[in-house]
């Protein structure tokens, strides 16, 4: 029995780790969304964090906590000069500008011979463990839970609902938006640093456009209105392929295309029928049952 349980844990430990990493990445997109900003630079920030962390442990021999600190700090520092001009843009334009930033980071790494270009940095020592990743998620959630209901929380909500009105009420919206972008960058960088030390390698291809799309999808499927929604989304969508691996042979379909199809369908159904994400499902069901 014990052996079976330990096998089960060993089988899914990487999935557990990735739930945490993906949760941090989803939260990095969420913090900007919480004040109404669709900023999609997180793949670029995560790449900066991953490379900074990997180089810190491998080239500079820094202790792991210090390397992680660097992973979070470097993208946060980059986010300030990036945010000042781009946060004037709104809606999809902000999204496009930040996508452009992410691509420039990826291409820079592809062209940087010191870090082996497309082949990336390999043989990174595995220093991140599941408990560290879980701790990082827990601390982030705690901080976000404190923001909710505070002066900060109300200001962010006001900016999300109606920015000009918030500004007339004396809320310095630009400062708040920048703070959230910097926080998002730090979270993405932290996730990148953890991933680098969890999976033995980093390469630029892991931080392309499709990666940031994944992060956005985690946040939206889970629910982008509550701070724990993105964590639920990341958990659900990270586990889904493993579940489909079990189900696909039973229904006799190739797991590959099926996984894509189910991903697409889940996303479509959530955005159409559960705008507040999966976390709103229990409430919706209760309302359904209460109604005649």
């Amino acid at each position: 029995m014990l052996e079976q349980l330990s096998d089960l844990y060993l089988t899914y430990q990487s999935t557990l780790g990735y739930i945490g990493i993906n949760a941090l990445l989803a939260l990095s997109v969420y913090v900007s969304l919480s004040c109404g900003q669709l900023a999609l630079g997180s793949a670029g920030f995560a790449a900066l964090g991953a490379y900074a962390g990997a180089l810190a442990t491998m080239k500079a021999d820094l202790p792991f906590p210090l390397a992680l600190l660097l992973s979070a700090l470097l993208p946060a520092l980059v986010a300030v000069p990036l945010g000042l001009p781009v946060l004037r843009l709104k809606g999809v334009f902000l999204a496009i500008a930040t996508i452009g930033f992410g691509e420039v980071v990826r291409l820079g790494l592809v062209n940087w011979e010191y870090v082996n270009g497309a082949q990336g940095i390999v043989a990174i020592p595995q220093k991140a463990s599941i408990w560290m990743i879980s701790l990082a998620v827990a601390v982030t959630l705690y901080v976000l839970s404190r923001v909710r209901g505070s002066k900060w929380g109300f200001a962010l909500e006001a900016i999300r609902e109606d920015e000009p009105a918030a500004r007339t009420m004396g809320i310095p919206s630009t400062r708040y938006k920048l703070a959230m972008l910097v926080l998002g960058a730090a979270l993405a960088g932290l996730a990148g640093g953890l991933e680098a030390h969890f999976t033995f390698m980093v390469a630029p291809n892991g931080f392309g456009f499709s990666r940031v799309v994944d992060m956005l999808v985690f946040a939206v499927v889970g629910g982008a209105q509550l701070f724990w929604g993105p964590v639920v989304g990341a958990g659900f969508l990270t586990v889904l392929p493993e579940v489909l691996r079990e189900v696909a042979p039973l229904v006799g379909i190739e797991p590959g295309p099926l996984r894509m199809l189910v991903n697409g369908l889940v996303l479509l159904l959530v955005i159409l029928y559960l705008p507040a994400g999966l976390v709103s499902l229990p409430r919706r069901l209760r309302e359904r049952r209460a109604a005649p």
Binding site: L33, L38, P85, V86, R88, L89, K90, G91, V92, F93, A95, I96, A97, I99, G100, F101, E103, V104, L107, G108, V110, N111, E163, P164, F209, V213, L216, V217, V220, E254, G256, P257, L258, M260, L261, N263, G264, L265, L267, L268, I271, L272, P275
Partner: protein
């Protein structure tokens, strides 16, 4: 040098064709339709399948374009219309278009598999006899045809949008859906029309792209998806002449970056340029001064 100009014009015409439909929906709904690249791809597969069954390309092309247009109507009905009343409709629309793109790609992958295919040999006349010397470079008749078709489609679309009643309605909706409704415009119909035209154009772009490069695969839209974004931003939101101009500008710029700095700089310059353009001149080349800034 002459050859590079030809290369740039040809690449530019492909970008322009892709971006035209992209920018039309963007201009009308303020929604980035990420399924555009998937429509572009699936139309090409439909055309290849038709030609494979012995249909002449001159029939297969319009059939695939029609298919793409109809698919656009379905997308509008399923993935966009239900979101229209929402306040965050531009973010929600981005997501639902992404979902639609994933579903389309999964279906194509299931039917046709991941392998790269091409139009059968002899779909179009090929070979050295079909090449012309121009500006000191070589250009194939097919390339000239594609540039010409792209030009024709631009003219037709401009006429449609500027001169017809439908076009006026679409433009009115783009300005303000509420005002358009007050003026008696059937907003739903105008938006559906914009989607049909946009997707049909995307489909035409895909088939021509497939004919030109003959490497057709379920992920073939990826290469133009982000470049298309750069083009519509450069051209100015919703501006069709702008998209065409920006398409050619991007094509020529890329070619000259490759020729003078090397290929590894090309995408860096494209995306850095996109970024700088958004920050420094948000209205694009030909866009009206619109509310891109908060």
């Amino acid at each position: 040098m002459g050859q590079q100009v030809i290369n740039g014009l040809f690449l530019g015409s492909i970008y322009a064709l892709f971006a035209l439909g992209y920018t039309l929906v963007f201009g009308v709904l303020d929604i980035l339709n990420l399924a555009h690249a998937a429509v572009f791809m699936v139309a090409t597969f439909v055309a290849v399948a038709l030609v494979g069954h012995g249909v002449h390309i001159l029939l297969a092309l319009p059939a695939a374009v029609l298919f793409a247009g109809l698919l656009g109507l379905v997308l509008e009905r399923v993935a966009f219309r239900p979101l229209r009343a929402r306040t965050d409709s531009n973010i929600a629309g981005l997501i639902s278009s992404l979902a639609a793109a994933t579903i389309i790609e999964a279906v194509v992958l299931e039917i046709w598999g991941p392998n790269i295919t091409r139009f059968p040999f002899g779909t179009l006349p090929e070979g050295p006899t079909n090449q012309l010397r121009l500006l000191g470079g070589t250009v194939s008749r097919l390339q000239l045809t594609i540039i010409a078709v792209a030009g024709l489609l631009v003219l037709a679309l401009t006429w449609l949008v500027q001169r017809t009643r439908l076009g006026r309605e679409v433009r009115a909706v783009a300005e303000s859906p509420r005002a358009a409704r007050v003026l008696g415009v059937d907003v739903d119909r105008a938006i559906a029309a914009a989607f049909f035209i946009s997707s049909a154009l995307g489909g035409a772009g895909g088939v021509l792209y497939g004919l030109a490069f003959n490497s057709i695969s379920p992920d073939m839209g990826r290469g133009v998806e982000l470049k298309g974004l750069a083009v519509i931003i450069l051209g100015g939101m919703g501006s069709m002449p702008g998209a065409v101009l920006a398409g050619f500008a991007l094509g020529l710029t890329e070619v000259f970056v490759v020729a003078n700095l090397g290929g590894s700089w090309r995408d860096v310059i494209s995306f850095a340029g996109l970024f700088l353009f958004l920050v420094l001149r948000p209205r694009g080349l030909l866009g009206a001064a619109v509310t891109r800034e908060a």
